[in-house]
């Protein structure tokens, strides 16, 4: 089946900003929403799926081994998500960021 993306039930999550510096990739995403989804469950399970050990805290997931973090801040109508990846190859950083963005848009849609 083929349909237009705008009619897809996925979450709206857009990459606002991205910067690569040395061995670090930083991105900021924004997601307009009415009810915040369980970002911790969505993003941590995406990290688990690609075998990246992580430590979960409220509003924050730390990648073990000083490999970066994901933070999210809930505003009134939007969530702002900040991703920082370090000490991976540039290509792996891009793949991890893409996998997390896909998860933010589509993972666990059935629950939210």
């Amino acid at each position: 089946m083929i349909r237009l993306r705008i009619f897809h039930p996925g979450r709206h999550v857009w990459r606002l900003w991205s910067k690569r510096s040395g061995n670090t990739l930083e991105e900021i995403w924004i997601s307009p929403r009415r009810i915040p989804p369980d970002w911790e469950k969505i993003l941590a399970s995406a990290l688990d799926l690609i075998w990246l050990e992580n430590t979960r805290r409220p509003g924050h997931i730390e990648l073990n081994g000083q490999r970066g973090f994901i933070q999210w801040h809930e505003g009134q109508r939007t969530t702002r998500i900040r991703l920082r990846l370090e000490n991976f190859s540039a290509k792996k950083q891009s793949l991890i960021a893409a996998a997390l963005l896909k998860a933010a848009r589509f993972h666990l849609l059935e629950e939210g």
Partner: protein, 147 residues
């Protein structure tokens, strides 16, 4: 309908069991297949012949969705599935031991749809796109497991 095959290989610095475990989990494919946005409704949860799932591809603002079915799976050696709706294709990952590492080969056999051929003007261009896609998938698995 004419068929074509895309085949790409790479050495992955990881043992065959690890490579197999990485590629055989259906939902993990979104992490290394470009454009694959979502895998869901995986039944049963464990990898085995007969396992089915639904997939969604992002394609220039369109969502292409369909169903897949695992047809063969041998731990540390082989994982194969077919897309059973949409454009039929058979995806085979072959894993061979290469010392303590692995030689990973992805072979995708697919039907060439007439409407896509019209869009891209020629069969060689369409086939090159699929060869490039296969090369990227194998390279992505290597990156995810090595670096």
């Amino acid at each position: 309908m004419p068929t074509a095959k895309a085949k790409q290989s790479a050495t992955v610095l990881a043992p065959p069991a690890k490579v197999y475990d990485f590629i055989a989990e259906a939902t993990r494919a979104t992490a290394f297949i470009p454009g694959l946005s979502r895998i869901h409704n995986v039944k049963p949860a464990t990898t085995q012949p007969g396992q089915t799932w639904e997939y969604e591809f992002d394609w220039f603002g369109f969502v292409v969705s369909g169903n897949s079915k695992c047809t063969k799976s041998e731990p540390s050696k082989l994982h194969q599935f077919q897309t059973v709706t949409g454009n039929p294709s058979t995806w085979t990952y072959l894993i061979e031991a290469d010392g303590t590492n692995s030689r990973l080969t992805l072979e995708v056999e697919y039907e060439i749809p007439g409407n896509v051929l019209a869009r891209y003007a020629s069969q060689p261009v369409f086939e090159k796109m699929n060869q490039d896609r296969a090369r990227e998938i194998v390279a992505n698995v290597k990156t995810m497991l090595e670096s």
